[in-house]
Amino acid sequence: MLAAFQQNSNRIKGFVHPAPPIKDMVMAKIHEELQSDVSAYLDNELAPDRQARVEAHLDSCNECSDMLTAFQENRARIKGLEHPAPLSIQTAVMAQIREQAAKTTVEEPSRTLRFPDLGRWIPDVGRWFLRPVTAGATGFLTLVLILGALYFYPTAPQYEETLDFYFGIHTEQLTDTPFDESLSSIPQDDALESDGDANLFLDLYLENVGN
C-alpha cells in the first residue's frame, strides 16, 4: 500500500516541469499593448491615466522610447516639407471667379434673390441648375425652348382647317339632334368668333356637304 502511494506521488511529481517565463510573457503583452499608444502619447491624445502608464513604460522600455524618438524626428522632417503657396493659386482662382460672377450678373441681375437655403430642399439635380455656371446655360436653354415652341406652334391657316373640321362635324350633329343640350358645350362658340368666319364656314359647308 505504502509502496503504491509512493509510486503515485512520484508519478504526480513527474508532471511538474519548469514554469514557462510567465513574467516575460506578461511583460511582452504589456509592452505590445502600450506600444500601440506611443503615437497617441506623442500627440497628447490619451486620457491622463493612460498617458501616465505609457510614460512609465517608456522609462523602462528601450524599444518603445526609441520608437517615440523616431516618431518625433520624423514629425519634424515632414514639417520641414512645408513651404509657401504659390501666389498664382490665388490670382488664377480669383480671375476665374470674377469672370463667372460677371457673367452671372449680366444674365441673372437679381443674384441676391437666390435663397441660400433653397438648396437644402431641392434634390441634387435641381441644385445643379442653380449653380452659377449652369444657371446661365439653363436660362439660355429655357429661352431656346420657348422660342422653339412659339415658332412651331400651329399657325393661323392650320387653325382654320381645324375649326373648319369642327364646324362641319358640329353642324352635322346639330342638324341631326338640334335639341341635345350636351352638344352646346362643344367649343363651337370659340370657333365662331366673328360672323364673317361663320358665314364663310357655312358657305363651305353648304358647298361641300349641304347639297
Binding site: V38, S39, N74, L81, A85, P86, I89, Q90, V93, P116
Partner: protein
C-alpha cells in the same frame, strides 16, 4: 545660381503666410458672405487657406504642379458648392475633405494614364519623382527629397493621415471628420502610418 534663387525666379510665393486660424465667428461670416455671392469674401478665404490647401496637396501628391492644380480646383469647387455648406462642421474641415478627394482623383487619373495595364503595380503607390519638374527639384533639398521619397512609397491612406497630422497638425477629432472614420481608427491608422514611415526612411537612408 543657388537653389533658393532659382525657385524664386520661377514662381512668386506669398511673402506673408497667413496661417493662423480664423475664429469660428469670422469663418462663419465669410462663408455666409460667399453664399450670397460676395467675391471679396471668397478672396479672403483663399488667402487664409491657400497655404494649407497647397501644402496638404503637395504632401499627398509630392508634385508641385499637381498640388497647384488641385488647390485651384478645390477653391473653385468651394465657390461653386458653397450654397450646400450647412455649417455642420468647420469650414476648414469641409475644405480639407474637398482637397483630399481631389488629390485622390488626381492619383487615380495618373494611375489610369499609365498606358500599359501590365505596367500597373498596385503594391507601389504613385511615385511622383519620375515626373518631377526642375521646379520640384529646386524646391527640394536633399533632405526633403528623402522624406518625399519615403512618403511616396507609403499607402495613400498613410500618406494622407501623416500630412494631416504632422504637417497640418490637426487634432484627431478633425482628422476623423475629414477622413469619415472613428477616433479609434485615426489613432491606430496614424500609429501604423508612423511605423511604416520609420521603416521606409530607414530603408531610403541606407
Amino acid at each position: 545660381m543657388s537653389i533658393g534663387t532659382l525657385a524664386a525666379t520661377m514662381e512668386t510665393y506669398s511673402e506673408t503666410i497667413q496661417t493662423e486660424e480664423l475664429d469660428l465667428a469670422q469663418e462663419r461670416e465669410l462663408v455666409q458672405r460667399c453664399q450670397k455671392g460676395d467675391v471679396d469674401a471668397m478672396g479672403t478665404l483663399i488667402i487664409r487657406y491657400q497655404h494649407w490647401v497647397y501644402n496638404i496637396a503637395y504632401g499627398i501628391l509630392g508634385h508641385h504642379q499637381d498640388a497647384q492644380d488641385v488647390a485651384q480646383d478645390a477653391f473653385l469647387s468651394v465657390w461653386e458648392n458653397i450654397g450646400k455648406f450647412e455649417f455642420r462642421s468647420r469650414f476648414s474641415t469641409w475644405l480639407y475633405r474637398i482637397v483630399k478627394n481631389k488629390c485622390f482623383n488626381q492619383i487615380d487619373q495618373h494611375q489610369r494614364r499609365k498606358t500599359d495595364p501590365m505596367e500597373i503595380d498596385d503594391s507601389q503607390p504613385w511615385v511622383p519623382l519620375d515626373t518631377a519638374t526642375p521646379e520640384d527639384a529646386a524646391l527640394r533639398s536633399e533632405e526633403k527629397d528623402i522624406v518625399h521619397r519615403a512618403l511616396s512609397k507609403l499607402k495613400d491612406d498613410y500618406r494622407e493621415i501623416l500630412v494631416l497630422r504632422e504637417l497640418r497638425e490637426l487634432p484627431y477629432e478633425e482628422i476623423s471628420e475629414i477622413l469619415g472614420c472613428t477616433l479609434g481608427r485615426v489613432k491606430s491608422r496614424l500609429h501604423e502610418a508612423r511605423k511604416a514611415l520609420k521603416k521606409e526612411l530607414e530603408r531610403v537612408e541606407w
